[in-house]
Symmetry: C2
Subunit: 427 residues, 2 copies
């Protein structure tokens, strides 16, 4: 991690420090396109053959049976079950406040407009697998789906035969209707296009590797496919620390981000010019104990320390970067909430480690990366719903609004639009 | 418009009746890709050269001046001004209830989670131009942006030199910060990528022709670009009518949809086997008075009448089709609100013509087409905002949640995630 003083670097240098590890999209899209098209045309059969090829799938069926759910529950360590239940409770408590409310407004006398919310009926959740085991992602996606009231929640995860019991238990306690042992581009395509034996879903959620992301992109721009939650990029963290921050806490947070993968990025912005050295030596020390040390070392290559004058300047920089995760390891962190414009999830004060939000504080960990926090929210209950508007016009309301509609329709030269009103007031 | 009785057609035939006029995407994407890339690389200069080429732009600057705004206001017929102001009031009244509220929850003692909403800072609105003049689209996009509190609202519209005064007046009364005379793929690319003289926006909204739609798709999947409101397809209407519905009203609604373009689609579902004939003869009669008769004739080719047993069956069909616009020209239409799952905007009862919602009832007319109503909302205030989550963990909260986080992190084999908590409870 190189250190820079903000007032000694140029705009161009700052831009370079803030540039994310590139997400090479186009090539990967061309790799997955034939797979996606094949599953689109041939359905389950094609999906299964790719599962055999890429994930060495050797089971009889990709549909997880009730028996498998039950045996997962039996097998799973009680301590993990408790942790999953505790985390679920917090996530549910936070997300249940997100269920949006319908309302009705009489915009003018005789014209009642109404907004109603409806759950998306069929949703697909992608839970990454392979070397990773991610029951937490199952929680973060299935709980808002459940609160929204989705009719059918389907989760998929790549697997050669059996799925880690923690993942199945997380699905079971949160009403996931079916789990399929399939992942990658073939899994995404199966969700998006369906098959006579498997109904397509209406929206796909969840993180994944570059092949999954590319497949999600393809199905999201195909009118025969379906929308997705958000574009995905590597995970990232920005920490703002003042002179009171402990170097060991900061180092631990940096490493918890860095262990995700070599394309992760961490930016530490600090008002203290004395913090960089102890943070770096703490990183070296803590790194030694990590299984995923090599991932972390790679990520640190993309990461930087910036020294600024004051916290206001730090927050301004953070808003420019628009981080997925933002830690404010400073005194009176709450004071700055209103200044934070662009961020996915924010951790206030020295005890608020990012990993608490990753698992159990209650907030969602599916968050916008790559600067998308400027315009996109993390996964919410509303993302599993859509709104429908209604209007009821009485005869009086019609008379009151007719001239406005006719004048605007005629300005736009849409005669039939005007006529639909004229014919109703004529008689 | 061919008529069918539901109980006499097969599933396959129904699917064919419900299939939308195709949106040929891939070819168009290859046409616009070089334009988008050129503007991405060369900015305003390239955009301007395409504006000259495609829209015969001959003005000095694409930025609308204050003088132009003022002269538009002077020139515009008072009646149209009043109509725009009246429509704005209703739209504002309906949309202002959509401003989402922040909240805080203490998920467990010592862990406070919070959700805050922030306006997207820079938004771009696309207002189609060319032969069409669409001040109503300016209203439908700028009003929610204003309510959301976006810092900078930029509207673009193709123009050879001057913009219709109604469009500029609609922008002015709704606080649009700048209007640019540029459209097409080059306009979308300029919004998405910016230029040293024009800051890029964070999200693009608005309808457009197939080139605009393709350009929106391209910038939305480019991490250097920006997200968009929704995928766009041709406009569509589904009408459910009972035996009391007037054929002339229905014909007028059908034509108000059909005049949009030859790729529009209308489905009339009725419980009356006597309605088709008078509706068709009314269509023939009303068609004669329409300037856009040829567009309407084309759209009617894609359109059908389906006769069903009862209203419940009609609504079930409608939910399958997921129409952009749905008219319930039936008795006690409100009774069926809860049954409507998938639709963009719904018009209840015989006086609720679609064109009232298109212009002035208060609801938004930017709506999901092509079946996207299954999973996507029309344009709302929230679409101009995003949420940010916050968490504050006290020392006590940390102690209470630590074991849950550690157990889950260790299940996922993310040591550094566990360590970020361990190091904080150690001392």
């Amino acid at each position: 991690m190189n250190s820079y003083e903000l007032n000694k670097i140029s705009k161009g240098e700052l831009k370079k420090i803030f540039s994310r590890p590139s997400v090479a999209n186009d090539d990967v899209i061309e790799i997955v396109r034939p797979i996606v098209n094949d599953v689109k045309n041939k359905g389950l059969k094609a999906a299964l053959s790719y599962a055999k090829k890429f994930d060495s799938f050797s089971g009889e069926s990709i549909f997880v049976s009730k028996k498998e759910f039950n045996s997962a529950e039996k097998k799973l360590d009680k301590k993990i079950k408790t942790a999953l239940i505790n985390a679920s409770k917090n996530i549910e408590k936070f997300h249940s406040k997100q269920r949006p409310k319908s309302y009705e407004v009489e915009t003018i006398k005789g014209i009642k407009c109404r907004r109603e919310f409806r759950a998306i009926e069929n949703v697909g959740l992608y839970i990454p697998g392979g070397t990773a085991v991610l029951p937490s992602t199952m929680l973060m996606l299935s709980i808002p789906a459940k609160i929204a009231g989705c009719k059918r929640v389907t989760a998929i995860t790549p697997s050669n035969d059996s799925i880690h019991p923690a993942v199945l238990f997380a699905a079971k306690i949160n009403n996931v209707d079916e789990v399929l042992k399939i992942g990658g581009a073939q899994g995404i395509a199966l969700l998006a296009y369906g098959d006579p034996e498997f109904n397509k879903v209406d929206k796909i959620f969840g993180p994944g590797n570059k092949y999954v992301t590319a497949a999600k992109t393809l199905v999201s721009i195909d009118p025969e496919g379906c929308p997705i939650d958000m574009p995905a990029g590597p995970s990232e963290l920005l920490i703002i620390a003042d002179e009171n921050a402990r170097a060991d806490f900061i180092a631990a947070d940096i490493l918890s981000q860095a262990e995700h993968g070599i394309d992760s990025q961490i930016i530490l912005i600090t008002t203290s010019s004395y913090l960089a050295a102890p943070v770096k030596s703490e990183i070296t020390k803590q790194l030694e104990q990590l299984d995923r040390k090599n991932f972390a070392l790679g990520a640190l290559e993309n990461s930087s320390i910036i020294i600024v004058e004051d916290i206001d300047e730090a927050i301004k920089l953070s808003n420019t970067y628009a981080p997925e995760h933002l830690i404010l390891n400073i005194n009176n962190a709450e004071k700055y909430i209103n200044q934070i414009q662009n961020a996915g999830s924010v951790f206030l004060g020295k005890y608020s480690a990012e990993s608490i939000g990753d698992y159990a504080s209650g907030t969602n960990h599916s968050l916008p990366t790559y600067g998308y926090a400027r315009s996109i929210s993390g996964v919410t209950v509303e993302a599993f719903m859509k709104s429908v508007s209604f209007q009821k016009v009485s005869q009086g309301g019609l008379n009151r609004i007719a001239q406005t509609v006719i004048d605007l329709a005629e300005t736009e030269k849409l005669d039939a639009h005007a006529n639909a009103v004229k014919i109703r007031i004529k008689k």
